[in-house]
Symmetry: C2
Subunit: 409 residues, 2 copies
Amino acid sequence: MVLLQMPVAFAALPHSLGLSLPVAMLLVFGSAKLLAEIFERLHQPSIVGEILAGVVIGPSVLGWIGPSENMSFLAELGVTFLLFRVGLEVRVGELKQVGWTGALVGVLGVVVPFVTGWGLLRLWNKPQMESLFAGAALTATSVGITAHVLASKGLLNRTASKIILTAAVVDDVLALLVLGVVSSMADRTVNVLELTLTTAFAIGFILLVAGWGSRAARKLIPHLRQRLRIGESQFAMAMILLFGLAALSERAGVAPIIGAFLAGMAMGEALPHHVHDLTQGVTELLVPFFLAGIGLRFSLQAFSSRSTVTLAVLVLLAAILAKVVGCGLGALRYGRPVALRVAFGMIPRGEFCMVVAQVGMGLKVIPADTYAIVVFMAVGATLLTPPLLKLAFRGVASDQGERNAPLIE
Amino acid sequence: MVLLQMPVAFAALPHSLGLSLPVAMLLVFGSAKLLAEIFERLHQPSIVGEILAGVVIGPSVLGWIGPSENMSFLAELGVTFLLFRVGLEVRVGELKQVGWTGALVGVLGVVVPFVTGWGLLRLWNKPQMESLFAGAALTATSVGITAHVLASKGLLNRTASKIILTAAVVDDVLALLVLGVVSSMADRTVNVLELTLTTAFAIGFILLVAGWGSRAARKLIPHLRQRLRIGESQFAMAMILLFGLAALSERAGVAPIIGAFLAGMAMGEALPHHVHDLTQGVTELLVPFFLAGIGLRFSLQAFSSRSTVTLAVLVLLAAILAKVVGCGLGALRYGRPVALRVAFGMIPRGEFCMVVAQVGMGLKVIPADTYAIVVFMAVGATLLTPPLLKLAFRGVASDQGERNAPLIE
């Protein structure tokens, strides 16, 4: 399979426009926080403001900064820490309670968008392979956005949130499988054995870490803590386990952020409050780069023809509706309100869609305008999620007491 | 002047060797902490272990990772946060007490190494311009290393530490001036007025921020705190002021880390403990990248001839002795023990030396072997500083109570 190296896709991005480090940091962080503040005052989700900040300073509007390699690196590091922090607040046992529902949501949330995306492009008279790639691009949920919203509202312990997190892990494995199948179809090298083994390996890795990670961390961390002599040794251990599991998960065919989430979940109980605080500092600094980074990729220039614009809007609607229907059905046994929360929480799309489109471009089955449509769909779906989630969670009380309320204020 | 854009020099570095984010993070952070632990157990300074980790995993030994753009970016961000954190612990009033001595140490610590470096290369029959550039490359102290040692031992409030920090600011301005003069001599465009104005502007900027920054921050931060609605608004403000001052200082012709130090000093009293903790998290994560990053640049391959090796050792000795004599003399009125601590603290060299050498290469007056000698000198001087500081500060008690002991454990 060609696909299991998501970060490599970033290497193709252009360099920053010669901005020095402090200027680039100030521009992205400052504009994200400025728009977050404005959105807060307009009673809109601040996260939307942070994403739009990227659109405003990026190539589409002001052109002050492009999606450079350094900024993408910070963005990736930011979403890694975000998922790690979310994992720290979640217990494996709690996810197990909703395990089968989460799995069903994950499966339907991949199958329905894939079929919908493929069908829509076939109806639009696009070639078979291009339609299959477009379908694949609609599959993967970018759980970072939803996790950030839920964490910032102190809603991580609600049933819907647990289903979303479980489904996101399943979704990730399946979406990678779909991309594997589709891209090996495109270069006519379908190897069923290899695809099956890769998927089995990914599932095995996740089950292993989720099942044993917490127990191992509870033994390992206090043991090492007594023996290590360097300062802040627990923070150092946490970072090594975080990057180690992220690297391993990549090897196992799972996105590194899933590894980061599993690492957080494994270490949540073993790490003291002080280490939670230190990782929160990193998260607070870097998450704006992840959010604004989404906006930075957005490009209006590609939409020259009316036909492209129409198709882009249709694809965006299909991407949203397909997830809502698929994931909503999957969670229906928990009642309509929960199903709706889960459905909305699974809408966001992110890098994965763009990676699919880039693989498709590399195999010469996705043209440039379809790539632009995929990016438009990902940014659009992501921007619409926070207000929808706000609506669906209206009146739901945030988690109380326990692990002192909002993780990210 | 050609010179006031230090970070741009990094753009010339090669890319990482196709390592994904988690692998690169794990490799650098993990090896730095592993060697730090080993050095702690051998009763050696852990900071030396972290620098050597870069040498071991870098091009000189294992070749697992090169000084890529992303790693340099993290390193630069790391030293920015390190100086910011140090600034948070230092009061302007305390530096004023040792102001004149600090200035004298700064001046002698630039003049003596410049003359020594130039003289040595002239004696070695090197051309005039090459010798002048080599002299310029010996001038700038890299205060990050010393600041890290002093902070980690809880020694920031000792007299010697205050003199070192003050001298480092003066040193930075003068070293940039020397580079300006030397490089405009090389391309025959000496403009005395421009050089004078740039220097005056830099000094004015520093005096302005040091003099008024603290007062302004004490008014601004509580005021904004009440009005802002975003989460962790004080952390966001601190970051914006940090990057803003670093960017401004760059504009004013001062290194961004000096701006970060001034920003920390201005905000130290205005920020609550919680924000100090959050920034410590970032510092803990990124400082190993700064330290290992020094080692990553080291290259043994360049030393093919015995003559180059001999000159490299002589330049290293000259670099150390010149700083010790110059800075020691400057601080002599505080007695020999303090003078020795100051002298040793001013030894480390860093990026600046390599920037000087790169400017010289760009102007075709510095050949590749002299560049390698400069890098060897910088890494060597930096590696020798922590043990020398340990020796000089032997028996000195760390700061007590006040702002709860070691800043970086």
